[in-house]
C-alpha cells in the first residue's frame, strides 16, 4: 500500500495489526508490530515523502510469521552503519528509529543506494 501521509500510516498500522491478530500473535506483539510499521512509515514520510509498505504472512519450517517491507525511491542512506547506530534518528532518542525497529522485530534487513532509495524488510515470528 502507498505511504504518502499520516492517514496512510494509520491504514498500514491497522492492516498490520489485523494481519498479526489473524495469524494469532498476542495483542502485545501486535502492538509492537504496529509500532515498527509506524517507525518505518515515519521514515518514508520524513526522508522520501512517499513510498510503499507491503505486509505478508510468511512461512518458516515449523512456524508462521509476518513480514513488513518498507520501500521508497527517496534519497537513500549513504552510511547504513551510522543510520543503524542509536541516536541518529530524527528524534535523537536512544532506541528510536531504525535501531528501535530492529529490536522490536526478529529479523531486520536494510538495502539502500544513495539517490535510488531504501528498502527495509523486517520479520516477526510467532513464538
Amino acid at each position: 500500500m502507498p505511504i504518502n501521509s499520516d492517514q496512510d500510516i494509520v491504514v498500514a498500522r491497522q492492516k498490520g495489526r489485523a494481519l498479526a491478530t489473524e495469524l494469532g500473535f498476542p495483542p502485545g506483539d501486535a502492538t509492537l508490530i504496529a509500532t515498527a510499521i509506524s517507525e518505518l512509515a515515519r521514515n518514508i514520510v520524513s526522508y522520501a515523502r512517499k513510498g510503499h509498505i507491503t505486509l505478508q504472512k510468511i512461512d518458516g519450517l515449523n512456524r508462521e510469521g509476518l513480514s513488513v517491507i518498507a520501500s521508497d525511491q527517496g534519497p537513500g542512506i549513504t552510511d547504513i552503519r551510522q543510520a543503524m547506530r542509536d541516536g541518529f534518528s530524527t528524534s535523537g532518542s536512544l532506541g528510536m528509529g531504525l535501531p528501535g525497529v530492529r529490536r522490536l522485530m526478529d529479523e531486520f534487513e536494510i538495502k539502500s543506494q544513495p539517490g535510488r532509495g531504501t528498502t527495509v524488510v523486517v520479520k516477526k515470528w510467532k513464538q
Binding site: D6, I9, V10, V11, R13, Q14, R17, P27, G28, T31, L32, A34, T35, S38, E39, S46, D86, T90, S91, G92, S93, L94, G95, M96, P99, G100, V101, R103, L104
Partner: protein, 326 residues
C-alpha cells in the same frame, strides 16, 4: 534534509490534555487513528523526557475522567479495556527505548571486559617481553665490558645501573596496569599497592581507610580498582594536593568508596551542565560504574579539593562469597 516535523512546540497542547483527548476519541470508537496518536504521544513523551511514572499518573487521571459517572457495567468494562489498549500503544516507544538501554548496558559491559583483556595483554608485554629484552641487553653489555679497559668498564656499569632502574619501573607500571595482586589477593591489597606507588612518585601521603576487607565479585573489584586508579591519577595530575584520602565502607547492600584530595579543586557544578565538557577519563569512570548499576558523584570547589564517591550495588552475602571464588 531533515524535516522539523516535531518542532511545533508553541501550538502544541499539553501532553496530559492531548492524552485524555485521544483516549476519549479511542473510547468513542475512532480505532487505529487514535492508537496511532497514542504511539505518537508515547514518542513525544520519550523525546520530552517524561518518566513512566508521569505517564502512569496522566493515564490514571484520563481514565478517571472517562469512567466517571458511567453507570452501565458493560460500558465501564469496555472503557477499561479500551484504555488499557491505548496505554499499551503509548508505552510501545518506551519498550523500544528500554530494549535500546539493555543493549547499551550490555555493550558497555563487553567494552569494559575487552578493555580489561587488552590491559592484561599490555601489562604482560611490558613485564615479560620488555623484561626479556632488557636481560638480553644486560648480557650484551657484559660481553662488551669484558674487553674494555677500567674507565669504560665503569661507564658500562653505570649504564647497567640505569637499566636496572628502567626494569624496576617497567615492572612497577605493569603491576599497576593489571596487578596480579588484584586477582590473587583482592581489591584492598591491590589499592594499597597502587597507592604506595603513586605516593612515592608524587611525593605525597595517601591515607587508606577501609571498614571491610573481604573479597568482592570480580567486576566490583576491577571497577573499584580502576576508579581509585583514575581518581588518584587525576588528583596528582591536576590538583597538586598535599594529601589524598581513600575510604571504603559498606552501607545497605552498597559498596561505597570515596577518594578525596585537598588540592586545587574546580567548580563541579560545571559538570552538571549537559553541554559542559567532561574529560574522557571522567566519562569512562562514570560509564564503568553505571555499567554495573552503580553511581558516581563528584564534589569540588576551587581551593577546597575534590571528592569522588562511588556506590556499587552489592548482592546478598551468599552470592558474594560464591562469586568471589569464581
Amino acid at each position: 534534509m531533515k524535516m522539523a516535523t516535531e518542532r511545533k512546540t508553541k501550538a502544541e497542547p499539553r501532553f496530559e490534555d492531548e492524552y485524555a483527548c485521544q483516549l476519549r476519541e479511542y473510547a468513542a470508537g475512532s480505532g487505529e487513528a487514535a492508537l496511532g496518536k497514542a504511539y505518537e504521544l508515547g514518542r513525544r513523551a520519550l523525546t520530552e523526557g517524561k518518566s513512566l511514572m508521569e505517564i502512569a499518573s496522566f493515564h490514571h487521571e484520563a481514565l478517571q475522567g472517562l469512567i466517571q459517572g458511567q453507570q452501565d457495567d458493560k460500558r465501564r468494562e469496555e472503557l477499561l479495556q479500551a484504555s488499557s489498549d491505548f496505554l499499551a500503544e503509548c508505552l510501545s516507544p518506551y519498550e523500544m527505548a528500554q530494549r535500546g538501554f539493555q543493549d547499551a548496558v550490555k555493550a558497555l559491559r563487553q567494552l569494559n571486559e575487552t578493555l580489561e583483556e587488552e590491559i592484561k595483554r599490555i601489562a604482560y608485554a611490558v613485564h615479560d617481553e620488555a623484561g626479556q629484552l632488557l636481560v638480553a641487553v644486560h648480557l650484551a653489555l657484559a660481553e662488551v665490558a669484558r674487553e674494555l679497559p677500567k674507565p669504560q668498564k665503569d661507564q658500562v656499569g653505570q649504564i647497567e645501573g640505569l637499566l636496572n632502574q628502567v626494569e624496576k619501573h617497567l615492572r612497577r607500571y605493569s603491576h599497576e596496569l593489571r596487578p596480579t595482586i588484584l586477582d590473587d589477593l583482592g581489591w584492598l591489597p591491590a589499592i594499597r599497592f597502587l597507592a604506595e606507588g603513586v605516593s612515592k612518585r608524587a611525593d605525597l601521603p595517601i591515607h587508606i581507610e577501609a571498614t571491610f576487607s573481604e573479597r568482592l565479585p570480580g567486576t566490583n573489584e576491577t571497577t573499584l580498582y580502576r576508579i581509585v586508579q583514575e581518581a588518584l591519577t587525576n588528583a596528582v595530575k591536576h590538583a597538586k594536593p598535599s594529601n589524598i584520602w581513600v575510604r571504603a565502607w559498606k552501607e545497605n547492600f552498597a559498596l561505597c568508596c570515596s577518594i578525596r584530595d585537598d588540592g586545587a579543586g574546580f567548580d563541579s557544578r560545571l559538570l552538571r551542565i549537559p553541554s559542559g565538557r567532561k574529560g574522557l577519563g571522567l566519562i569512562a569512570m562514570q560509564e564503568r560504574v553505571s555499567a554495573i548499576g552503580g553511581t558516581l558523584q563528584i564534589e569540588s570547589c576551587p581551593g577546597r579539593g575534590t571528592e569522588i564517591s562511588i556506590r556499587l550495588p552489592l548482592e546478598d552475602e551468599n552470592a558474594n562469597s560464591r562469586l568471589a571464588r569464581g
